[in-house]
Amino acid sequence: MKVLLAILWKDLLTEWRRRDRVMAMLLFSLLVVVVFHFALPGGASAQTRESAPGLLWVAYIFAALLGLNRAFALELENDALSGLALAPVDRGWVFLGKAAANFVLLGTVQAVTALIFALVFDLDLLAVAAKLCGVIALGTLGLCSVGTLFSAMAVRTRFREVLLPILLLPFLFPVLQGAVTGTAALLATGALPFEALQLLIVVDGVYLIVSFLLFEYVLDE
């Protein structure tokens, strides 16, 4: 548990000092919103509100891929991966620490992006704020658990920026299904359908546990 907090703290501190990852993710999300405006037939406005939930999660996935690509890059560049691997701790906790850091960073970007979406699509987020945070948190949990595991693999291969999305996206489809359905229902009716919740919880549970268990095979030497 201490390991988890230690790694979480280290990553967040590093990010706070340099802020390059979060800034890149934020700027990218902004740009993506503009792209969406040009991509939608009616532009991004209150009239095209139905597209908002899906597009929001597309933006989140893009941001997540950006962030995850860099998740282990610092360690790799500074030869610190072996340090992580050789530390006399259960590697599962290293995984949780890393995933938690990714979660926090991504969550920050997601909050800002949601606000931008609310502005552009004229959404009333306040009414469903708590539940919305819950759905987004659940979706992001799934994203970060699998994402952190695959990021640790991809960082050691050629073309890692291309490989990570290819590895990760198929696994995100169940998460997306639950998250987008939940978000859409929340924004439209204010009620969260149970199926979406159930799906997210089950998928998150599976992904978290399996990633935790498999991480030791991925962090080495």
Binding site: M153, R156, L163, I166, P174, Q177, L199, V206, V210, E221
Partner: protein, 268 residues
């Protein structure tokens, strides 16, 4: 077809002192080759019977001739899923035992499996176009199959982008294992969200029309045999490649090795 005894007058360990230990042992390739040969001859016979049974199968009253794709498309699907499960299992065994033979099995199963999966993805839309008039729909079962195909391809890409060796094998095993989980998970998703499916319902015995049982059975058995035959050959090739690499690296260090007479095997 009688099994050929593999002569082991001088032990493989002497000929290849650095070959890593594996459950197949020194005579492993021989046994695999023989298994492959057997499968090959069986397959040839099965294909004949299969072709005859499909040709003589009754024509469905509702769909017409095109319904005969039933005898090739679902069998291909079985092969695709079998390959997938094998890849995951072999990967798991590799993580557990660190024996390269399992890694080679995983790679072989993935390659053969992706061939079957691709064929399934081709025959499916052809059948769909002929019966429902459109090539594709986001029917849940189709979507899960598409996912399976993507995971296969991602697995193979991961292997080719990895630097190879033990780490590459390990990463592939992790991905393959995780992938195997994804498929039941997605069927769970379907169950929860209960999409109305255009896809024909699961076939139970009795839901097939008169006279369709045999060609369907032949389809399944023949495609399965084709899968096993191709798997055996692919696995053997992977072993051979590994041996060739080992010999080549040894020759780089210590000069060419003189080898005993080659022993021929029979190819179907």
């Amino acid at each position: 077809m009688p099994s050929k005894p593999s002569p082991r007058s001088d032990s493989p360990a002497q000929r290849n002192p650095r070959r890593e230990g594996s459950p197949l042992g020194g005579g492993g390739e021989a046994r695999l080759a023989t298994l492959g040969n057997t499968a090959g001859w069986l397959l040839a016979a099965l294909v004949l019977v299969y072709a005859l049974s499909v040709w003589n199968a009754p024509i469905d009253s509702r769909q017409g001739v095109i319904q005969k794709i039933l005898y090739v498309h679902p069998p291909l699907a079985f092969g695709a899923y079998l390959g997938f499960i094998l890849t995951g299992l072999a990967g798991g065994l590799y993580l557990w035992t660190h024996r390269p033979v399992f890694d080679r099995l995983a790679l072989s199963a993935a390659e053969v499996g992706v061939v079957f999966c691709t064929l399934m993805m081709i025959t499916g839309p052809i059948w769909a176009k002929g019966t429902w008039g459109k090539w594709w729909s986001w029917d849940p079962r189709l979507t899960v199959t598409l996912l399976l195909w993507f995971v296969y391809l991602a697995y193979l890409l991961l292997r080719s982008f990895s630097e190879g060796g033990e780490r590459g094998a390990r990463f592939a095993a992790v991905y393959g294992l995780f992938g195997v989980l994804l498929i039941p998970l997605n069927y769970y998703v379907i169950e929860i969200f209960e999409g109305r499916s255009m896809h024909p319902e699961n076939l139970q015995s009795g839901s097939l029309g008169e006279g369709m049982g045999l060609p369907f059975l032949m389809g399944v058995v023949t495609n399965l045999m084709a899968f096993l035959f191709l798997l055996a050959r692919r696995w053997e090739v992977e072993h051979l490649r590994a041996n060739a690499a080992a010999v080549a690296s040894r020759e780089m260090v210590s000069g060419p090795i003189s080898n005993p007479e080659p022993q021929g095997g029979s190819d179907p």
